[in-house]
């Protein structure tokens, strides 16, 4: 048993607003967990917390074995975070974007080319400015820049948003493959039941805390 995420009563405030009011969550290595819940439940904040981008105000938080209250930076290079914003530069082409982020995370040229190909962005799209991409294509480009990083913890905020059926299958395959190779995936989804989610475990957030934790494959952990 290797806990990749271990949060206990973690409280995170954004300004004066308590976005997370005491989250307790354990995720073991290789797991795929879907986080769902209403708008404003704190799902995105949870991902940012796990990425070490937000300070923990109360409670304890360990991610990848590091205590986030003491050192939030150590884990960051092992995190692949896909947020609402994609971190791409509008005036660079798809290839230039992926190459730039690839060089920032020390990826080789082969890995970069492979990631572009894998996300179905080779051919014409490769040389198109990100500014001119559709929302779905943009999402794919953003994924490609994560794939080159080979993170050990994937934090995906609505990874299927704006994607077509092909794209969804691609992403699901990617998630499954990542989990199989030992990475852990935490993904946020508004409507988990509508799609054939690769996940077996569903965690529901509301009011900044976990209200239900159902594991379809094994025994349910129940409400924490």
């Amino acid at each position: 048993m290797n806990d990749v995420i271990d949060l206990r009563e973690a409280v995170v405030t954004l300004g004066k607003f308590p976005a997370l009011t005491g989250v307790t969550l354990k995720v073991t290595q290789g797991e795929i967990v879907t986080v769902c819940g209403p708008n404003g439940a704190g799902k995105s904040t949870l991902l940012n917390l796990c990425a070490g981008l937000l300070p923990v105000r109360e409670g304890s938080a360990y991610v990848l074995g590091e205590n986030l209250r003491e050192n939030r930076r150590a884990i960051r290079q092992d995190i692949g975070l896909l947020g609402h914003k994609s971190g791409l530069y509008d005036d660079l082409t798809v290839e230039e974007n992926v190459t730039f982020w690839g060089s920032m995370v020390r990826a080789g040229n082969d890995e970069i080319a492979e990631a572009i190909k894998f996300m179905g962005l080779d051919g014409r799209l490769r040389k198109v400015l990100v500014r001119q991409l559709s929302a779905g294509q943009r999402r794919r480009a953003s994924f490609a820049s994560l794939v080159v990083q080979r993170p050990s913890l994937w934090l995906l905020d609505e990874p299927h948003a704006a994607l077509d059926t092909d794209g969804r299958d691609l992403v699901d395959g990617l998630i499954q493959e990542a989990a199989a190779s030992g990475a852990t995936v935490l993904l946020v989804s508004h409507a988990p039941k509508e799609l054939s989610s690769p996940s077996g475990r569903f965690v529901t957030l509301a009011g900044g805390r976990v209200t239900s934790d159902i594991n379809n494959e094994g025994s349910g952990d129940g409400v924490s």
Partner: protein, 223 residues
Amino acid sequence: MEFRDAWSIALKDLRIELRSRILMNQIAPYTLLIVVLFGFALDANTQTLRDTGPGLFWVAVLLIALLAIQRAVKIEEDDAARERMLLTPVHSPSVFLGKSIALFIQLFALEILLFFVMLALFDLSVEDPLLIFLSAVLATIGIASSGTLYGVIAAGVGVRETLLPILLLPVIAPIAIGATRAFGDSFGRVDADGWAWLGLLSVFAVVYTVLGMLAYGQLVEDA
């Protein structure tokens, strides 16, 4: 810190500029407009323009710098690229250096353009080209590094456009003074030892580069 990272980041910024041509198509014409306005304001008196030329040059550079810094910050803000950078193994001093180098190159290019325009319009003659070159390089390093540092302080706040000038301009005022004097000496307009001013400009450049590399990481963290 790795210089390779800094260089990739600088190249990325420059490539974005070559694509979008904001500097070329908007800031450069604005620069020329400023020079023309100075001409109007000073009653098209060539003698006056010649005497105030060095000062006008550096005032124009400060105004351009503000726009260029805003632009450099905006590139990183638009699609949360700054946050994305936090999730890579790149050290923040490298990011600072990269952004500063890109800003330096862009500002320097604009300064060259501005310089020749003013030379022609204000009828100035250069007596000491080396002094001009060195003082411009040192002053621009100071402006680029302090601008990158203050740019990230003002980044992420809603009032960036107004906050940046009030924070940055008083702090880079000594650069304007020093570079103006050095230019004045090289044009033979004032009786000052321009070379002495290079010392001050280099102190400023070094202080801000070092401070920026130390403080940048702290500032990008939660900004």
